[in-house]
């Protein structure tokens, strides 16, 4: 008797195959593809470039001292801002930037070694894009109140004058003080 080697799949196997078919996910006919609406995901990353330009700090350079030389007692001795003996500074920084400039000014010149103080005041000044206190130098009154100005060309020159009135009783000697210019970018 010829015995076959082919048998029907067992009942349990048939049932499990059927479950897998019924439980199948996204459906396509075999041999075709259909684009679906995009599934969640497909994440992509990108680096957006950023740049910053940091400006060099301001440079304040004092280069001339305000020098009254020999003064006369009981008289007002004045060095104008546009005198060759006036004090001078330069401020350098970003060309075209706005800066705020202010001064810390002495009220007296003090005698070296002590023993006397000479009042100083009546401050005058001008500022210019060139190293000249002549024509075109814009006048201003130096004080602790800042003035805003533009660094056209990147550098500005400041010239400072004042007056001293030594009292008759003031002893002989050398009298000194300090003028401080402070400049800061305004951010404009």
């Amino acid at each position: 008797m010829l015995q076959t080697r082919f048998r029907f799949p067992p009942r349990t196997l048939c049932r499990s195959i059927g479950r897998r078919v019924r439980g199948g996910a996204a459906v396509f006919a075999i041999g075709g593809l259909t684009a679906l609406s995009p599934s969640r995901g497909g994440a992509q990353s990108v680096a957006l470039a950023a740049r910053a330009s940091v400006v060099a700090p301001l440079t304040v350079s004092p280069y001339w001292s305000l020098d009254f030389r020999t003064v006369t007692r009981n008289r007002r001795n004045t060095v104008p801002y546009n005198d060759v003996w006036s004090g001078a500074f330069s401020v350098s920084g970003l060309s075209g930037a706005q800066v705020a400039v202010s001064f810390a000014l002495p009220t007296t010149l003090d005698r070296l070694g002590g023993g006397g103080a000479m009042p100083i005041g009546l401050w005058t000044g001008c500022h210019s894009a060139t190293n000249s206190s002549g024509a075109g130098c814009a006048t201003f009154t130096p004080s602790a109140t800042a003035i805003n100005l533009t660094l056209a060309g990147g550098t500005r020159f400041f010239f400072v004058g004042a007056s001293v009135t030594p009292a008759n009783s003031l002893p002989n000697g050398s009298y000194v003080g300090t003028i401080t210019l402070q400049a800061t970018y305004t951010g404009n």
């Binding site: 010829l2 076959t4 082919f6 048998r7 029907f8 799949p9 048939c14 195959i17 059927g18 897998r20 078919v21 199948g24 996910a25 996204a26 459906v27 396509f28 075999i30 593809l33 684009a35 679906l36 609406s37 995009p38 599934s39 969640r40 995901g41 497909g42 994440a43 992509q44 990353s45 990108v46 680096a47 957006l48 470039a49 950023a50 740049r51 910053a52 330009s53 940091v54 400006v55 060099a56 700090p57 970003l94 930037a97 800061t184 970018y185 305004t186 951010g187």
Partner: protein, 175 residues
């Protein structure tokens, strides 16, 4: 003998036919236009003054960073930032002060689904954060995104050009 063989063969054929079973399995695949990016412009901070208040660039400003997101027509995407701050560094600066800046990303971004402009027709506000916010690409599969931020330089910051980047993540939501 032949008859027996034929009978056996007939039995064999009958058995094969009777035992044939068919079944189908499903095949699935999805084709999705990949998300790509086109750079519009860098986020740029000009003239950062040392020791001054932070330099701020809003998303609507000319210096804001811009990027175009490209993908599937009208698809919804989730957009997020990797972090809301990054570091800009200066490779060529010299001096004794710091040579890195912290860039704080502004969450008040701008998007435009009509044109490459942070303001005007088609533009709107968009919240950028490390958690994703959803928006839609336009009918051409495009969306423009503009980002601002701020940097502050220390009083002794080394002067020069600083560079860095902001990380952005974009993915389809499936909607």
């Amino acid at each position: 003998m032949i008859k027996k063989l034929m009978m056996g063969a007939a039995v064999l054929v009958a058995a094969t036919t009777a035992q044939a079973q068919t079944g189908t399995v499903n095949v699935s695949a999805s084709v999705v236009t990949p998300i790509t990016f086109t750079n519009v412009r860098d986020l740029t901070f000009t003239n950062v003054f040392p020791g001054q208040a932070a330099r701020v660039v809003a998303a609507s400003d000319a210096g804001s960073g811009g990027i175009r997101i490209n993908g599937l027509t009208n698809a919804q995407v989730a957009v997020s930032a990797g972090t809301m701050s990054s570091t800009l560094t200066c490779a060529s600066c010299t001096g004794t002060g710091p040579n890195s800046l912290t860039l704080n990303v502004d969450g008040a971004a701008r998007i435009n689904n009509a044109s490459a402009a942070p303001t005007g027709a088609g533009s709107s506000a968009f919240t950028l954060a490390t958690s994703a916010s959803n928006t839609n690409l336009n009918a051409s599969g495009q969306l423009w995104l503009y980002i601002g931020g701020s940097v502050a330089a220390a009083a002794n910051q080394q002067a020069g050009a600083y560079t860095g980047s902001i990380s952005l993540n974009v993915s389809y939501t499936g909607n």
